[in-house]
Symmetry: C5
Subunit: 82 residues, 5 copies
């Protein structure tokens, strides 16, 4: 799993049906790094340091074996000093 | 998921049968970066900033559990300033 | 599989249910490198050099086909000089 | 999917049974880049620019759900100027 | 698949049960590069240039659908000049 920071929410009105209305978050491994998009399975806010799971595990973690995610936030880190 | 920009369509006449006639798009994380090829599940045009899913999720997102994709466009981003 | 070093334990109180109370460890390929988070399936301590498996294998290795892990520690290396 | 160029065929006499006698091709994203090995599902020749699929999709694309491939050539690109 | 060179065997006495007593080999894409650990499905020795498969294919290639490998050696290359 990766340690990433939540940067902002992402609006995508035109998306595939199977994604439903799940919130999308922009996350980054470090400031200025490449941004990725994660499904939030926890309820976090910009600024949180979180644990993101990838691979097929991201799908179950998002709530269903056939959910179209390859990066899902599965935990908020209590304390993190990058 | 990755944030990528649609660059152009890609013509591949000689392809495996299971790909059907699905449109292929060249996408890039940033200008001058390595180009990738994605299946379009939304209907987007060159210049759009899109959300691309990889891993096994790319297959279902392309429409079928056995579709041969490892990168599928699942959403268009409403506003994005890279 | 990757050769990584256990750096510290990681506390994440707010996590998805399917992760249970399994210990999370911060691991690194080399000092100063990008930290990752792994599920410990062996019982190791900070300083150990370990073998980490990714992909779908990380799930079974963590104990169940539907466990949300993409990086699981599957062995402790007896001797390693990086 | 990745855009890669076919460099040469690769001879591996001693291989696992499940690979059969399928031809193996060395492919590269760019000249001088790291070479990878792909299964050819199309019939291409050195010099061709091709589309390579990875992940679990590479297995079905190679012809069978249990084929041991993580990179399979699924299409030849008609025109490509890298 | 990746082209890698076998560097040495790796001893890991304390490992998860599902790995059995399968030999573990340290492999590298190039001299001085990051070492990875692969399961040997062929029978190779240090110095051999080999083909390594990742993803879920690494599991079947190691001998069983639930084997905890994400990198398995599936062939020895007859001649290779890196």
């Amino acid at each position: 799993m990766k340690i990433m920071r939540v940067v902002q929410t992402l609006v995508s009105t035109n998306r595939i049906d199977s994604m439903g209305h799940r919130p999308l978050l922009v996350v980054q491994e470090k400031e200025g790094g490449t941004p990725s998009v994660a499904i939030d399975a926890i309820g976090c806010v910009p600024g949180d340091w979180v644990i993101c799971v990838g691979s097929s595990a991201a799908r179950d973690a998002a709530g269903a074996k056939d959910f179209p995610s390859d990066l899902t936030i599965v935990g908020i880190i209590d304390h993190w000093n990058p």
